[in-house]
């Protein structure tokens, strides 16, 4: 068949989204206002850890405009707790309700929900609710989380360490300890990363619209996964007894069938993967807490016996960076409240709430030991990781998944004889830890920081030691020591070589000398890594058995009778420009203009089922793959119909600009609408499910930056920042550049500006943007992005994700550059957070405290 593509893939096509977004016609959740909607606000705990001895909402209920108030115990009567998800051996996941009723575990813990005729009136009423708290001792740090003398956050846990597991990988004849004993040197350092926050510019929000006639709910929400929200929203609300549920099961057959239909093909596609779920994880959970069984039963039967199921409609979303992949406790409370009242409710989180409870991340202590020979050959790596999960586990993914990915990715792109990692997760009285753009990113930060420390100890250059140990093409195909397969798409070494070519080291050395005259110190830092985007086949089985099923994406392509092309994705765009990139893919496959492709997303009534929605760098490779194959199947149907109509061989049919014709005679062609009309068809449709086909799956980059450290002020600037990235074939270079730069900007923020700060009693100190500093256009430099497009041998749909990498590489390159700049002072950088005071301390300009 001739190619017939319009050639949009690979071009910086202008964004389809901008037609509405740049003129103020976007439709974000705050813009949704059903008639008669009630406005919701949450009363939140001012204390980090306390027992609630009484809560009295009598006066608040009488306040003007107040329609209803729900306390924690009200919610326990009508909702189920969040269940554990993706259980792992030695992990305990505490169960918790949408509102807290007896114990608060963090500042901002929601204890009551007020619904009133306006937001102002709801906030007025908040102040009238009287809560008596009995303060408890707090757990405010990782050290306190590990301490056996601190009070326990969760009754059924064993202390505050909720996970403690050692993973060992020593494929050769020697044990990890033997490899370490046999190496010339062992170098150890303890590194720490303070707490950060995703901070999308749009906060969280939900509008639960209730049809006044039928009671049917439509949930408008800023979510990264509308199907997940639909299922969890349905599962955890409308609590009923087993007997009531049984009656419902008999009565609601048709509605239930419709609800389950979406998931049916998913279950079919993933039957094997689901069987591979790790039963040892379940055993660990039940050993600590059997209550999950009772709840699971009620949740399951209740879900099947529901009278009705909500729909979710998500439209424009103002960023997420992982934070909106969690199901919010607030969402469950709102759905339950709307169900009880039979009225629409709306909650738009404010920024202070978002900084408290909208998602925090990355707080980890990491002790690394590298066994290395004197010639710089890496032998073994040992890691001791502790993650501060905060008070409540993110649902569905949070610290346990980050730890599981780190376990696989820590060795990076280097050769090792042995690797061992101890992972612990502690509960503390802080905001919940969620996935944040490259949730495992601290493996790259800590490893690349450590590689520099080792290089310094061995008096080698950072580039030299990396080049010596990186896995090269001559070793491929091979596998990481932790299992995942590696082919040429793991091009880390090549990106480093390219970055070294692009850097003018001699000029840098000259500039460094010149800067000294003005008390400025220049430094050069590099970091190289590969990331699963979303990883080669088998990757996710190495992370956690059964999770491969989460990857699946489905797409539906249609040509309607009027000839219009409408495609449906289970992806949930929130800034990644899916309408443009999928438009490019579909336009190329079908031979139409991008303007003629309409993408439907976010609406569970119309879009195919997926668990994750958007997350995990799957939009290009998996969602894009499903889209490509669905539209290719429709193309085959079009060509088949045209070959009959035009009495030509299918091989001779071309589609150009929506004109279907025999090659060379476009004048006698037909439009899609004419083709459908003349063949008496009712349109074309194809659905394809996809989760990668051995197409590599690695996204790769080297970051290199030059920093300028001003020792008068402690300010760090960037004379140069460059990224050499390899995400395979690029769909839209401008969009890829934007993703990379945005990620780097968040990495710069993480190192120099941003910190979710708590005091010794776990009181949040960074509850506004005056204290949590998001970098501005004055702080983020120009970022050069250079592309390599390594193709996978035999890969067909070779796109790889690029949304997370910028954030993964930046903290390592920046902290390495700063240590290099401050090397005249013998500075050793062990923290990822380096505000001006810390810089001046490291240089000995001021003394600590």
């Amino acid at each position: 068949m001739s190619a017939n593509t319009s050639g949009l893939v690979g071009q910086s096509v202008k964004r389809v989204e901008d037609d509405r977004l740049l003129v103020g016609n976007g439709r974000y959740v705050a813009d949704v206002n059903p008639p008669g909607v009630l406005h919701a606000v949450f009363l939140r705990s001012p204390l980090a850890h306390a027992t609630i001895t009484s809560i009295d909402a009598t006066a608040a209920r009488r306040a003007p405009g107040v329609v209803a108030i729900f306390t924690g115990s009200d919610m326990e009567a009508i909702t189920h707790p969040f269940p554990p998800f993706a259980m792992q051996p030695d992990l305990y996941t505490p169960l918790y309700y949408c509102l807290s009723s007896t114990t608060v575990r963090m500042v901002g813990d929601p204890v009551a929900l007020v619904l009133a005729e306006s937001r102002h009136l709801a906030e007025d009423a908040l102040e009238l609710i009287e809560v008596d708290y009995e303060p408890l001792d707090t757990v405010a740090s990782i050290a306190e989380g590990l301490s056996p003398t601190k009070p326990q956050l969760w009754e059924k846990a064993n202390g505050n360490v909720l996970y403690d597991h050692v993973h060992t990988f020593a494929p050769g004849n020697e044990s990890v300890d033997a490899v370490f004993a046999g190496a010339d040197r062992v170098i150890t350092e303890r590194l720490s990363c303070p707490r950060q926050s995703n901070q999308p510019m749009e906060t969280r929000g939900s509008v639960v619209e209730v049809d006044p006639d039928t009671g049917h709910m439509t949930i408008h929400n800023a979510t990264q996964s509308s199907h997940m929200l639909r299922w969890i929203g349905a599962a955890l609300t409308g609590k009923q007894s087993t007997r009531e549920a049984a009656k419902g099961i008999i009565a609601n057959k048709e509605r239930r069938k419709a609800f389950l239909a979406g998931a049916k093909s998913f279950l079919k596609e993933n039957a094997e993967g689901l069987k591979a779920q790790d039963n040892d994880g379940m055993k660990s959970q039940l050993k600590a807490d059997k209550s999950f069984l009772k709840h699971a039963n009620l949740i399951g039967v209740g879900l099947l016996g529901k009278d009705d199921y909500p729909d979710v409609v998500a439209q424009d979303i103002g960023g997420g960076f992982g934070a909106k992949g969690s199901i919010a406790r607030e969402d469950v409370a709102l759905i339950a409240a709307a169900g009880e009242l039979g009225r629409s409710v709306k909650w738009i989180e404010d920024r202070v709430e978002n900084l408290m409870d909208g998602g925090q991340a990355r707080e980890e202590d990491l002790t690394l030991s590298i066994a290395v020979d004197d010639d710089g050959t890496f032998r073994g790596l040992k890691v001791d990781l502790v993650i501060d999960q905060g008070a409540y586990p993110g649902f569905p993914v949070g610290a346990p998944l980050a730890s599981a990915i780190m376990k696989v990715m820590f060795p990076g792109s280097y050769n090792w004889d042995a690797f061992e990692m101890r992972s612990r997760i502690v509960a503390t009285n802080k905001g919940k830890y969620v996935a944040y753009r490259g949730p495992w990113a601290n493996e790259t930060w800590a490893r690349e920081r450590m590689v520099d420390i080792v290089a310094r100890a061995l008096k080698m250059s950072p580039a030299e030691i990396r080049l010596k140990n990186l896995i090269g093409d001559d070793q491929m195909p091979t596998a990481m020591i932790t299992g995942p397969k590696i082919d040429e798409t793991m091009s880390t070494k090549k990106t480093l070589e390219r970055a070294l070519e692009l850097l003018d080291i001699d000029q840098f050395e000259r500039d460094r000398d010149t800067a000294l005259a003005e008390n400025h110190y220049l430094g050069l830092g590099i970091a190289s890594y590969h990331e699963a985007a979303p990883g080669p086949p088998g990757y996710w089985e190495c992370v956690n058995p059964g999770t491969e099923t989460l990857l699946n994406e489905e797409a539906q392509a249609t040509v309607e009778t009027d000839g219009s092309v409408v495609v449906y994705t289970s992806q949930m765009p929130h800034g990644q420009s899916h309408e443009t990139t999928y438009g490019q893919i579909v336009a190329d496959e079908l031979g139409v203009a991008i303007e003629d492709v309409k993408l439907v997303f976010g609406d569970t009534r119309r879009t195919p089922f997926s668990i994750l929605g958007t997350g995990g760098s799957r939009g290009g490779p998996i969602g894009g793959g499903a889209m490509k194959y669905a539209s290719r199947a429709v193309r085959e149907q079009l060509v088949d119909a045209a070959s009959k109509l035009l009495e030509a061989d299918v091989a001779d049919i071309e589609i150009v600009n929506g004109n279907v014709h025999v090659a060379g005679v476009p004048a006698r062609g037909v439009t899609f609408a004419e083709l459908i009309a003349q063949t008496a068809g009712d349109g074309f449709e194809a659905t394809r499910s996809y989760r990668g086909k051995g197409d590599g799956g690695w996204s790769v980059a080297t970051h290199a930056c030059i920093v300028d450290v001003d020792l008068d002020t402690g300010k760090v600037t960037f004379p140069r920042y460059l990224v050499v990235e390899d995400c395979g074939p690029i769909i839209n270079p401008a969009i890829v550049d934007g993703q990379v730069r945005g990620g780097v900007a968040q990495g710069i923020g993480a190192v120099l500006y941003e910190r979710a700060t708590y005091d010794d009693d776990a009181n949040l100190q960074s509850a506004t943007y005056m204290d949590y500093l998001i970098p501005t256009s004055m702080e983020i430099p120009e970022i050069e992005v250079h592309h390599m497009e390594t193709l996978s041998p035999g890969g067909e749909n070779d796109f790889r994700g690029v949304g997370e990498g910028g954030m993964i590489g930046a903290p390592a390159a920046i902290t390495n550059a700063i240590e290099d700049a401050l090397s005249p002072f013998g500075a050793r950088i062990t923290s990822q957070y380096l505000p001006p005071t810390k810089i001046l301390e490291l240089a000995g300009v001021i003394s600590p405290d």
């Binding site: 202008k14 964004r15 102002h120 550049d737």
Partner: protein, 177 residues
């Protein structure tokens, strides 16, 4: 009693009587509203005027997403009370494009430059840019970065936005796109 009077009475009962009448112009249209004194200009723009293109990112005056032009000056509509808009001329993102839908040069330039991603911050950036170029039609790259440092974007790393402003300068000077 008219509907307006009765709703005013209800509102005054609910809020202790702090109700004000405010008249101003929004995107060229004369507008009069009766609002609680505590309501912000952004509340009124989004709810009463139903112009939801103006966004609220932080509601404490840092992020700049709510920026609108008040008598041509960029202003944080989340920090202004609606009552303070009495007699003023307000321009929001919806007022930038021409009556036939023709994009303002700043909008066109941002589209050409792939300026934004999630675009939640874009109304603020666009309004700040319009004000900047009105005062300084040919800013340097440093001036652009400084002027836009009152607006936060979490997606882009700003480079594409600065590129967009530079393109807008060219368009407005009548140069090539």
């Amino acid at each position: 009693m008219t509907d307006t009077q009765s709703s005013r009475l209800a509102a005054e009962t609910a809020t202790g009587g702090s109700i004000v009448d405010v008249s101003f112009t929004v995107n060229g249209s004369a507008t009069s509203v009766t609002v609680e004194a505590r309501r912000t200009l952004s509340d009124v723009i989004r709810e009463d005027c139903e112009l939801t293109g103006t966004h609220l990112g932080c509601e404490h005056g840092v992020c700049g997403a709510c920026t609108v032009l008040v008598d041509g000056q960029p202003s944080r509509s989340c920090l202004m009370l609606a009552a303070q808009a009495e007699g003023r001329d307000i321009t929001t993102i919806e007022g930038l494009a021409g009556p036939d839908g023709e994009l303002h040069p700043v909008q066109q330039a941002m589209m050409d430059a792939h300026g934004f991603q999630c675009a939640f911050c874009s109304p603020g950036f666009l309004m700040s840019t319009v004000a900047l170029l009105d005062e300084n039609p040919d800013p340097t790259s440093e001036e652009i970065r400084e002027e836009l440092s009152g607006n936060l974007c979490r997606c882009t790393g700003y480079q594409s936005i600065v590129d967009g402003v530079e393109r807008a300068v060219k368009i407005m000077k009548g140069g090539s796109k």
